[in-house]
């Protein structure tokens, strides 16, 4: 049907005064994709979304929707619809009137309009709520009205600006799955803005991680989590331990860094590094293991003698904080695969241990 990308941004810049809120962003979003813009607040993700919606015009660069240049087309002439963070439902209109608004603006005939509004409400499971006013509905229901109001127009792309932000944890999880299945059913490209990394990992086909107006990495949830290409992404997505050092050995896709203490640690390099360069080893807490000093084997990429400091039992996992030296502690998570009440089955504070990790599980990253 459409050739190329649903949305294409090429070197898009948005300046507010001196500040570049969006700084040379280039993105290609496929047709039918669930694409997330993920980053901390102020990273430019919402501004990027608002430029696609047409509420802001780029200061520079090219923005295309299905190959048509859209940079300065006003919002009411764009084939996209938005679900707002605050829902922005019209309080003086009923649910049905809210949903019908977009169709009325397009002068859809009355008979067709009624049927489409009904179908949209059915889709979000709000069939009996047509005559209610938004204020008479719960947050989750309002959220679904906002979805129906946008989807009833059959947009080429649906833009979602942190739509789950105001919901409580449980409802949020439900809506994540519901949104995902809805997207499968309607087959419309979704662009989803969020600062919640777990949410992005759960729902997205691909994620763009943004910080300070720049896109740092674009990839599938697995790529973003397992192979972050920079320190920021490794830190922002999930949890990790960082150990700083200098690159002392480099081969193919692996490199070894040496810490100031003289420890040599080997890990995978998603991006090439140079000898002598300052680098950081990123080690996810669930990817390392603690073994008794007598059990350390030479085939492990590195072994670090540590002391167990604190143990937190959280049911599925045991989270252990170990001390490497005076300045640094590391976190290691062990899955509780054994069902026992025996205290000796777990580590004890003060115990000496060795932290081991195969090289593929650790990453050597530069800034």
């Amino acid at each position: 049907m459409h050739k190329g990308y649903a949305i294409e941004l090429a070197n898009v810049v948005k300046r507010f005064g001196e500040v570049a809120a969006v700084d040379h962003v280039t993105l290609q979003i496929h047709d039918g994709e669930f694409f997330s813009l993920l980053g901390p607040s102020g990273c430019g993700k919402t501004t990027t979304l608002r430029m696609i919606a047409g509420f802001e015009y780029p200061s520079g660069g090219e923005l295309m929707i299905h190959g048509r240049p859209m940079a300065t087309v006003p919002p009411h002439h764009r084939p996209v619809n938005t679900v707002f963070q605050s829902y922005a439902l019209f309080p003086h209109m009923t649910v049905a009137q809210n949903v019908a608004f977009g169709l009325k603006m397009k002068r859809v005939p009355r008979a067709e309009l009624g049927a489409r509004v009904q179908a949209a409400l059915d889709m979000v499971r709000l069939a009996g709520f047509a005559e209610r006013y938004p204020r008479q509905m719960s947050g989750g229901q309002q959220q679904r009205v906002a979805l129906a109001r946008a989807l009833v127009n059959q947009p080429e792309v649906l833009l979602l600006d942190e739509p789950l932000g105001a919901l409580d944890q449980k409802l949020r999880k439900e809506m994540q799955l519901e949104l995902k299945s809805l997207q499968h059913r309607v087959g419309i490209t979704f662009i989803f803005v969020t600062h919640d990394q777990e949410e992005a990992l759960t729902m997205s086909d691909r994620i763009a991680v943004m910080n300070q107006g720049k896109v740092l990495q674009v990839g599938t949830p697995t790529e973003i989590y397992e192979r972050p290409t920079c320190k920021f992404v490794a830190d922002f997505i999930g949890e990790t331990n960082f150990i700083e050092g200098t690159v002392v050995e480099q081969s193919d896709e692996y490199a070894t860094i040496q810490t100031p203490d003289g420890l040599q640690l080997r890990g995978y390099t998603p991006r090439p590094v140079n000898l002598g360069e300052a680098a950081t080893l990123s080690l996810r807490p669930e990817k390392a293991r603690l073994v008794l000093p007598s059990h350390a084997r030479p085939e492990d990429a590195f072994t670090m003698p540590v002391h167990v400091e604190m143990i937190t039992y959280i049911g599925s996992d045991t989270r252990i904080t170990v001390r490497l030296n005076e300045r640094r502690t590391l976190d290691v998570w062990e899955q509780n695969t054994l069902s026992t009440l025996d205290r000796n089955a777990y580590w004890q504070p003060g115990e000496a241990a060795v932290l081991v990790c195969p090289p593929a599980n650790a990453l050597v990253l530069t800034e």
Binding site: A53, G54, F55, P74, P75, H76, V80, N81, T82, F84, S86, A88, L89, F90, P91, H92, F101, G102, M105, K106, R149, A150, N153
Partner: protein, 291 residues
């Protein structure tokens, strides 16, 4: 015994305006606070109560209660001069309200929505008619109208006198400020995302204004209009200064009558004006609460 408790609670709720003695000892603080409140209300509404009561007395001087009558109301409605003044007053109030509501709303929209050269200046000047003494406003309007009328005479040779038109212009001059203040307040609460949502759903700026913005701020606009109407109805000083010969307005007419003698007829007119003002104020409160 089991049912006694909720009943007791209901009784407490019913008398919630009365100090709660049961939840603690009767303190001097509570007693003086209650006394203070009674005195305040007496001070504020006592005279008005007297006025209303004495508009129904048979006593010719309206200072003693000698029995109930509606005679003064009948006389008032039969008084052509008074009714003419009332007609003028309503006419002035209506025209000045319509004009000042339109301009006040436009001004409020401009102030809230746009950054333009001189915005800070306008912002400062906009509240001036609200805070400066009314007499100063009246004198300045009088001087200005004299200047303009003289200018018209020199240019066209026509002699134009002060009339209801000058009164209307004067009332518009101060009403715009009040309308602007009220409408701006309702715009401050207005979520601009609603406008973005409308644009996003395919509405152009014109459709967005009439279908979203206007219905949302309508209570504010109506509130402003009712306020302007009330202020115009009972305005005295500016009306006195700007009206011409033979174009008397109700408050001025009442004043003229009082100078001669206080009759229950005056009480009747005042009661009626009071009733209209209160109705309008209550109406404006209700309309604004509806949002």
């Amino acid at each position: 015994m089991i049912e006694a408790q909720p009943q007791n609670k209901r009784a407490q709720r019913a008398a919630s305006w009365w100090p709660r003695f049961n939840s603690g000892a009767l303190t001097w603080g509570r007693l003086t606070l209650t006394l203070h409140a009674f005195l305040m209300y007496l001070f504020l509404y006592g005279p008005i109560f007297v006025l209303v009561v004495f508009s129904f007395t048979r006593d010719e001087f309206g200072v003693r209660w000698t029995g109930f009558t509606l005679e003064w109301y009948v006389r008032m409605f039969a008084n052509d001069r008074l009714m003419g003044a009332a007609g003028n007053t309503l006419y002035v109030a209506f025209v000045s309200t319509v004009v000042s509501t339109i301009f006040g709303t436009l001004l409020a929209l401009a102030m809230e929505r746009h950054r333009f050269r001189g915005r800070t200046g306008v912002d400062a000047v906009i509240y001036l008619p609200v805070v400066i003494p009314e007499i100063a406003m009246a004198v300045s309007l009088l001087a200005f109208s004299a200047l303009v009328l003289e200018f018209i005479r020199v240019v066209t040779g026509e002699v134009v006198r002060r009339s209801l038109v000058t009164v209307i212009i004067g009332h518009i001059a101060f009403s715009i400020s009040f309308v602007t203040i009220v409408v701006r307040a309702s715009l401050k609460h207005f979520d601009r995302r609603l406008e973005e949502a409308a644009r996003d759903l395919g509405a152009n700026s014109w459709q967005t204004f009439w279908r979203i913005t206007f219905p949302m701020i309508l209570p504010g606009i109506l509130g402003g209009a009712l306020l302007a109407f009330t202020l115009s109805l009972d305005n005295f000083i500016i009306s006195l200064f700007l009206s011409g010969p033979g174009t008397s307005l109700l408050p001025v007419e009442v004043y003229n009558k009082v100078r001669r003698a206080v009759t229950p007829e005056i009480n009747a007119i005042s009661t009626l004006m009071l009733a209209v003002s209160i109705t309008l104020v209550v109406l404006s409160q209700l309309v604004q609460r509806r949002r």
